[in-house]
C-alpha cells in the first residue's frame, strides 16, 4: 500500500469507528465493541507499517484560504511522528481490548467505545499533523474527548465536576497556546511545521530572540495545561473519576502526552529560546518534586498514579528543557508503556475488589491476583527506575541530560524526585502485596467470576513486556529522532541506582513488614500539607474562582440595575408621560401610532427637503 492510503487508513479508521458506533449502534453495544476494536487494530497495523516504511515526504491538502492564511490539512511523516504514532495506536488498542472486560456490564458501552475511537482519531491526527493550526485543532479535540471520558459516568456529581475542571484548566492553557500559534502565523505567515523548523528559513533564523521567547513561552502555557504542570496540574488527579481504562489512556499516550509531544515536535524553536527553557526547567522541577510529595501520602491507588504522572511529565520536560530531545522522548515512550500498564493493573484490582483504597486492596488479598501483581511489579519497578526495567534507562538519560545542560541544582532536584518516586512507588507495591500485620485478611477474596479475564490479561501481558524491555530501545529511538547518543558506563549509572535503592529501602522499612504508617505520619504538618495537595486547589477557589464570581456578579448587577435598568426607567418615564391617553390605547394601537408618526414624519422631511 502506498503511504497516502496507509496514513488515511491509520487516522480515519478510528474516526469511521466512532461515526458508525455513535450513529448506528446504540442498540447493539456488542457490535460497537467489535467495530471500534477493529478500527483500532487497523490503525495500529497502519501505524506499524508506516513506521517500518520509514520517513516519507509530508502530505498536504489545502483546507482553506483566507487573506494571508493558507491552511493545510496533512501528515508529517518523520521519525518522531511515526514512532509516537505506533505508541499511541498500540496503547489505545490495549486499552480498548481491556475495556471489553472492564466495561462488560456498563449500560452505555456504545457511547464509551465510540468516545475511545474519537479519542484515538483526535490523538493520531494531532501526532501526524503537518500544520501547526491542525495540531491545535486536534489538540482541542483530544481535550474534548478527555472531557467526555472523564465525565463518562456523568450522573456522578464528582465525575461531572472533574470533567468540567479538566476542560476549564486545560482551556486556560489553550488561551496561551492559541495566542502563540497566532503569533507564529503573524510572524512567519504560515503554519507549516517543517517550514517553521527549517534551519535555513524557519522561525529561529527569522525572528528576533525576544519574539521567539514570547512564542515559545505562550506555547509552553498550553503545555502546562495539557501536561498538567504546576500551577495548572490540579485537574489531573480529579480526572481519575473516569473509568480506569480511560485513565490508562489519558495518562500515558494521549491527553497529557500531547503537551510533551508538542514541545518535542517544535524542539528546534525551544532549543533556540534560552530564556524559555530556563522557565520550563524551573516549572518542571517544581512540578516533579511537588507531585511526588503528594503521591507519598495518598491512599487511593489511582491518585498515587495520577500524581506520579504529573511528576514524571515534569521529568520529561526537565530533560527537554536541559537540551536533550532524546531523553525527553525516551521517557515519554517508556512512561507511556509503564503508566498504561500500572493503570490497567490498578483497574484489575479495582474491578475485582471494588475499592480504590491501597490498604483495602492489600487486606483483601491483592497479591492473590498473580498476573496483576506481576504487572504491578514490572510497571512499578519501571516507574521507580529499577534496573533493568525501561524507566531506569530513560531516567538515567534524564540525569545525564541535566548534568550536561541543567546545572547541579536541577540535577540534585531530579535525584531527589527520583528518590521520592522510588519511595512512593514501593509504598504502593508493599501496601498492595504485603499482608497487613495487624489484620491480615478481612474481606472475602472469592468474588464471582474470573478476576483476570483474558481480555484484561492480554493487554497487561503486552504492556508488561513493553515496560520491561523498552529500556533497550534507546538506539532505535535516537535513530528515529536523528540524534547521536553516547552510552553510559555502569559507573555513570551508580548514582541513579543508589537513589532508587535508597527509596526502595526506605519504603521497605516503612511498609515492607506489614506496617501501614510511613515516616510522614510522625510529621503531621507535612503529612497534612501533602495530602491536601499543598492547598493549591483551595487557593484557586479562594482567589480566582471567587474573583471571577465577583466580577460576574458585579457586571450582572450593573446590567440589571444600571444599564438595562436605566433604559427601563427611561422607558417607564416616557410611557408615564403618555398615561392620559393610555387607557384608550392597547399596545397595538400605540405601536401602529408610533409607526405612523415615524413614517409621516419621514415623508414630510423628505418632501420638505425638496426631493
Amino acid at each position: 500500500m502506498d503511504t497516502t492510503t496507509l496514513i488515511l487508513a491509520t487516522t480515519f479508521a478510528p474516526f469511521a469507528g466512532f461515526v458508525i458506533a455513535i450513529l448506528f449502534l446504540h442498540r447493539s453495544p456488542q457490535l460497537a465493541q467489535v467495530v471500534v476494536t477493529t478500527s483500532a487494530a487497523v490503525a495500529l497495523g497502519g501505524a506499524v507499517q508506516l513506521w517500518l516504511n520509514g520517513p516519507a515526504e509530508p502530505l498536504r491538502y489545502l483546507w482553506f484560504t483566507s487573506g494571508a492564511i493558507d491552511l493545510y490539512f496533512g501528515f508529517l511523516l518523520d521519525g518522531l511522528n511515526l514512532m509516537f504514532g505506533v505508541a499511541v495506536a498500540l496503547i489505545t488498542l490495549c486499552v480498548i481490548v481491556y475495556s471489553i472486560g472492564y466495561m462488560a456490564d456498563d449500560p452505555s458501552k456504545t457511547r464509551y467505545f465510540a468516545l475511545l475511537a474519537f479519542f484515538e482519531w483526535a490523538m493520531l491526527s494531532f501526532v501526524y499533523a503537518v500544520d501547526l493550526l491542525q495540531s491545535f485543532i486536534f489538540w482541542e479535540l483530544v481535550g474534548l474527548a478527555s472531557f467526555f471520558l472523564i465525565g463518562f459516568w456523568y450522573q456522578k456529581p464528582s465525575a461531572a465536576e472533574a470533567a468540567r475542571k479538566a476542560f476549564l484548566m486545560t482551556r486556560i492553557g489553550d488561551v496561551g497556546l492559541l495566542i502563540g500559534v497566532l503569533l507564529v502565523m503573524m510572524t512567519a505567515g504560515h503554519f507549516d511545521i517543517p517550514g517553521l523548523l527549517d534551519p535555513d528559513v524557519g522561525l529561529v533564523t527569522r525572528l528576533a530572540p525576544a519574539t521567539l521567547t514570547a512564542i515559545t513561552l505562550l506555547i509552553f502555557v498550553g503545555i502546562v495545561g495539557k501536561s498538567a504542570q504546576f500551577p495548572l496540574h490540579t485537574w489531573l488527579p480529579d480526572a481519575m473519576e473516569g473509568p480506569t481504562p480511560v485513565s490508562a489512556l489519558l495518562h500515558s499516550a494521549t491527553m497529557v502526552a500531547a503537551g510533551v509531544f508538542l514541545m518535542a515536535r517544535l524542539y528546534p524553536l525551544f532549543l533556540a529560546a534560552e530564556t524559555t527553557r530556563s522557565v520550563i526547567l524551573v516549572v518542571a522541577t517544581i512540578t516533579a518534586l511537588l507531585a511526588a510529595t503528594m503521591a507519598m501520602v495518598d491512599r487511593d491507588i489511582k491518585k498515587v498514579l495520577a500524581y506520579s504522572s504529573i511528576s514524571q511529565l515534569g521529568f520529561m520536560l526537565m530533560a527537554l528543557a536541559a537540551g536533550s530531545l532524546f531523553a525527553g522522548v525516551f521517557h515519554l515512550i517508556t512512561h507511556a508503556l509503564f503508566k498504561a500498564l500500572l493503570f490497567l493493573c490498578s483497574g484489575l484490582f479495582i474491578h475485582h475488589f471494588a475499592t480504590n483504597d491501597l490498604e483495602q486492596i492489600g487486606r483483601s488479598g491483592g497479591r492473590g491476583m498473580r498476573l496483576t501483581t506481576i504487572g504491578l511489579l514490572i510497571g512499578g519497578g519501571a516507574l521507580a527506575g529499577v534496573p533493568p526495567l525501561s524507566g531506569f534507562f530513560s531516567k538515567e538519560e534524564i540525569f545525564a541530560a541535566l548534568g550536561h545542560g541543567g546545572g547541579s541544582a536541577f540535577t540534585i532536584a531530579a535525584f531527589a524526585a527520583a528518590f521520592l518516586t522510588a519511595y512512593y512507588t514501593f509504598r504502593m507495591i508493599f501496601l498492595v502485596t504485603v499482608p497487613d500485620r495487624i489484620e491480615p485478611h478481612t474481606a472475602d477474596d472469592h468474588h464471582e467470576g474470573s478476576a483476570e479475564p483474558w481480555t484484561m490479561a492480554l493487554p497487561v501481558v503486552v504492556l508488561s513486556l513493553g515496560a520491561a524491555l523498552a529500556g533497550g530501545w534507546g538506539d532505535k529511538i535516537a535513530a528515529a529522532l536523528g540524534v547521536e547518543i553516547s552510552h553510559h558506563s555502569i559507573g555513570d549509572m551508580l548514582p541513579a541506582i543508589g537513589v532508587v535503592a535508597a527509596g526502595v529501602v526506605l519504603a521497605w522499612l516503612d511498609f515492607g513488614r506489614g506496617d501501614r504508617a510511613g515516616f510522614l505520619t510522625r510529621i503531621p504538618a507535612l503529612q497534612s500539607l501533602f495530602s491536601n495537595g499543598w492547598h493549591i486547589d483551595e487557593i484557586y477557589r479562594a482567589v480566582f474562582v471567587r474573583i471571577t464570581g465577583w466580577v460576574a456578579t458585579l457586571l450582572h448587577g450593573m446590567e440589571v440595575k444600571g444599564l438595562d435598568g436605566g433604559f427601563d426607567r427611561f422607558g417607564v418615564g416616557i410611557l408615564g408621560a403618555g398615561s392620559g391617553s393610555r387607557r384608550v390605547q392597547s399596545g397595538w394601537v400605540q405601536f401602529y401610532g408610533g409607526c405612523a408618526v415615524v413614517v409621516v414624519g419621514a415623508i414630510a422631511f423628505y418632501v420638505g427637503m425638496g426631493g
Binding site: A552, D564, G587
Partner: protein, 496 residues
C-alpha cells in the same frame, strides 16, 4: 418557476406562503403548517442553488434584477447578492425551515403565528437582497415589526414587558437610521436610492464622519451591540422557540449586515474614523456578555447574553476590517461568524424550546442529571454549547479564529482580552452542562423519560447540527464565497 429570476423566486416563497395562509380558514392548522413547510422547503432548495450558483471566482454582485419603480426619486426594485448576501440568504432559509419544523406542534392561533413568522422571513430575505436603499429600509422594518405581536401573543413569561422593550429599542434604532439614510440620499445628490450607484459615490469626509455613527448605532441596536443590547436577552427569553431562533439567528444579523452594506460600503471613511472607538465597545461587549452569562439562572438568558458576546465578535470583525491591517481576515471572520452564530443560536433555542415544552421550566437549577432522562435533547444542546465555546470541528471556530488573528494583528491588547474571553465562555457553558445535564437525575423529571426527541422532532435539530459540522470541517465552501466579496469591500478603503 422557469423564467422567474432566482432572487425574486426565493423572496416569493414566503410571500406566496403568507398569501395562502391568509386565505386558509383559521381552523385548518394542518394546512397552515404544510403551506409554511413547503414554502420553506422551496426557499431552502433555491437558496442552496443560489449558493452553488454564485461564482466565487468572479465575485461581486450577481443574480441582479432591476425594475425601475418610482423613477422621479430614483427608487427601483433592485435585487442582487454578493458573497455575503448569498450565504446570509442561505442562513435565513435554514433557520426558516428548521423554525417551521420546530413549531410543528404549536396549537395556539396557528394561522396568525405562521403568518407573522413568514412576514418576518420576507423582510429578512429582502434586506439581504436589496440593492436599493428604500427597499433595504422597507424590508428592514417588515422584518422587525412582526416581532412585537409574535412575542406578545405567543410568548411566555414577562412577554408584555419584553415585547414593548424590544419595540422601543428597535424603533429608537430606526429613528437614528431613517434620517441618516435620507441624508445619504441627499448628500450624494445623485437623485437615486440605488446602493450600487451610491457606493461608487465618494461622500464628503465630514458627512461620512457625521453619518456613520448614526448608521452604526441604529443598526447596532438590532445586532445586540453593547451597551444597547438590553432588549435582546429579554426578548429571547419571552419569545416562543421559532421566534427566538429567527430573532437571534437571523434578525440580529440584519443589524450587522446593515452596518456592513450601508455603513462600511457607503461610508468607508466614516467607518475607519470611528473603528477604534467601536472596536473597544465590541471587545467590551464580548467580555461583558460572557461575564453576565455566568450569573444567569435561566437557560434562555444564558443564551441571550452569549449572543451579546458572540455578536460582539461580529462587530469586532467589522470594525477591524475598517482599520485595514488585517482587514481580510477580520471581515471574513465577521461574516463567517454571522452565519455560524445564526445556526448555533437557532440550534440552542430550538432545543431549549423543546425541553421547555416538555418540562415547562427553563430555570437551570430546576434540572440536574437531565442527560439521563432526555439524552438526545441534551446531546444536541451540548453540540450547540461546544460550538459556542469555539471548539474546532464546529463552524464558529473558524470565525473566531480569523477575528482573533485580526485583533492580535491590529490591537494586540484587544486580541489578548477577547481570546481570554474564551475561558469565560467555557465557564458559563460548562456550568449549564454540569448543573442541568450532569449529576444525579432529578426524580421530578422522571416523567420525561419517554418524551425525548424522537422521529421527525430530530429533523430540524439534525439539520442544524449537520450544518455546523459540515462548515466546521469544510470551511472552504463558505469562506470562498465570503472571500470573493471581502476583497472588493476592502478595496473601498484603498480607493478613497
Amino acid at each position: 418557476m422557469d423564467g422567474l429570476p432566482l432572487l425574486t423566486s426565493i423572496l416569493l416563497c414566503p410571500v406566496i406562503g403568507l398569501g395562502l395562509i391568509v386565505l386558509i380558514p383559521g381552523g385548518a392548522a394542518r394546512a397552515v403548517r404544510w403551506v409554511s413547510l413547503l414554502s420553506a422547503l422551496a426557499a431552502t432548495v433555491m437558496s442552496i442553488q443560489l449558493w452553488r450558483g454564485y461564482d466565487a471566482v468572479t465575485g461581486g454582485l450577481q443574480f441582479v434584477e432591476r425594475l425601475p419603480w418610482v423613477e422621479a426619486v430614483g427608487i427601483s426594485y433592485h435585487l442582487g447578492v454578493d458573497g455575503f448576501g448569498t450565504i446570509l440568504v442561505m442562513l435565513n432559509s435554514i433557520v426558516y425551515l428548521t423554525g417551521v419544523l420546530t413549531m410543528w406542534d404549536l396549537t395556539e392561533r396557528v394561522k396568525g403565528f405562521f403568518g407573522f413568522m413568514l412576514l418576518l422571513v420576507v423582510g429578512v430575505y429582502g434586506v439581504f437582497m436589496a440593492q436599493d436603499l428604500f427597499f433595504f429600509f422597507f424590508f428592514y422594518e417588515v422584518a422587525v415589526v412582526p416581532m412585537y405581536p409574535l412575542i406578545l401573543i405567543w410568548g411566555s413569561g414577562n412577554r408584555d414587558y419584553a415585547a414593548m422593550k424590544l419595540m422601543l429599542f428597535l424603533l429608537a434604532g430606526s429613528a437614528l437610521l431613517f434620517p441618516a439614510l435620507l441624508a445619504i440620499y441627499h448628500s450624494a445628490g445623485l437623485g437615486t436610492f440605488d446602493m450600487v450607484l451610491l457606493s461608487q459615490h465618494r461622500f464628503d469626509t465630514d458627512v461620512q464622519i457625521f453619518l456613520y455613527p448614526l448608521i452604526y448605532l441604529g443598526f447596532g441596536v438590532l445586532a445586540g451591540m453593547f451597551p444597547v443590547h438590553g432588549w435582546s436577552p429579554t426578548g429571547h427569553v419571552a419569545a416562543p422557540s421559532a421566534v427566538s431562533m429567527l430573532h437571534a439567528g437571523v434578525l440580529m444579523k440584519l443589524g450587522a449586515f446593515g452596518i456592513l452594506s450601508v455603513g462600511i460600503r457607503l461610508l468607508p471613511q466614516g467607518a475607519a474614523h470611528w473603528a477604534p472607538t467601536f472596536t473597544v465597545l465590541a471587545a467590551i461587549g464580548i467580555v461583558y456578555g460572557a461575564f453576565v452569562a455566568i450569573r444567569q439562572t435561566d437557560f434562555k438568558f444564558v443564551i441571550g447574553f452569549s449572543s451579546v458576546s458572540h455578536m460582539g465578535i461580529v462587530l469586532l470583525g467589522l470594525n477591524l476590517a475598517a482599520l485595514g491591517q488585517a482587514g481580510e481576515d477580520a471581515l471574513n471572520g465577521a461574516v463567517f461568524q454571522m452565519f455560524a452564530h445564526g445556526i448555533m443560536t437557532a440550534l440552542f433555542f430550538s432545543t431549549v424550546g423543546f425541553i421547555y415544552d416538555r418540562a415547562h421550566s427553563k430555570t437551570i437549577a430546576d434540572f440536574g442529571g437531565l442527560g439521563a432522562q432526555m439524552p438526545r435533547a441534551v446531546s444536541i444542546f451540548i453540540v450547540a454549547g461546544l460550538c459556542g465555546a469555539g471548539l474546532p470541528g464546529l463552524a464558529s471556530f473558524w470565525a473566531e479564529l480569523l477575528v482573533f488573528l485580526a485583533a492580535l494583528k491590529t490591537y494586540p491588547l484587544v486580541g489578548v482580552v477577547v481570546i481570554v474571553g474564551l475561558v469565560l465562555t467555557a465557564v458559563y457553558i460548562l456550568r449549564v452542562f454540569r448543573d442541568a445535564f450532569f449529576g444525579e437525575a432529578n426524580p421530578r423529571w422522571q416523567s420525561l423519560v419517554g418524551l425525548d426527541m424522537a422521529g421527525w422532532q430530530l429533523l430540524p435539530r439534525a439539520i442544524l447540527v449537520g450544518v455546523l459540522l459540515f462548515f466546521g470541517f469544510f470551511p472552504r465552501f463558505l469562506l470562498d464565497v465570503i472571500d470573493s466579496t471581502t476583497t472588493s469591500v476592502l478595496a473601498r478603503f484603498w480607493m478613497q
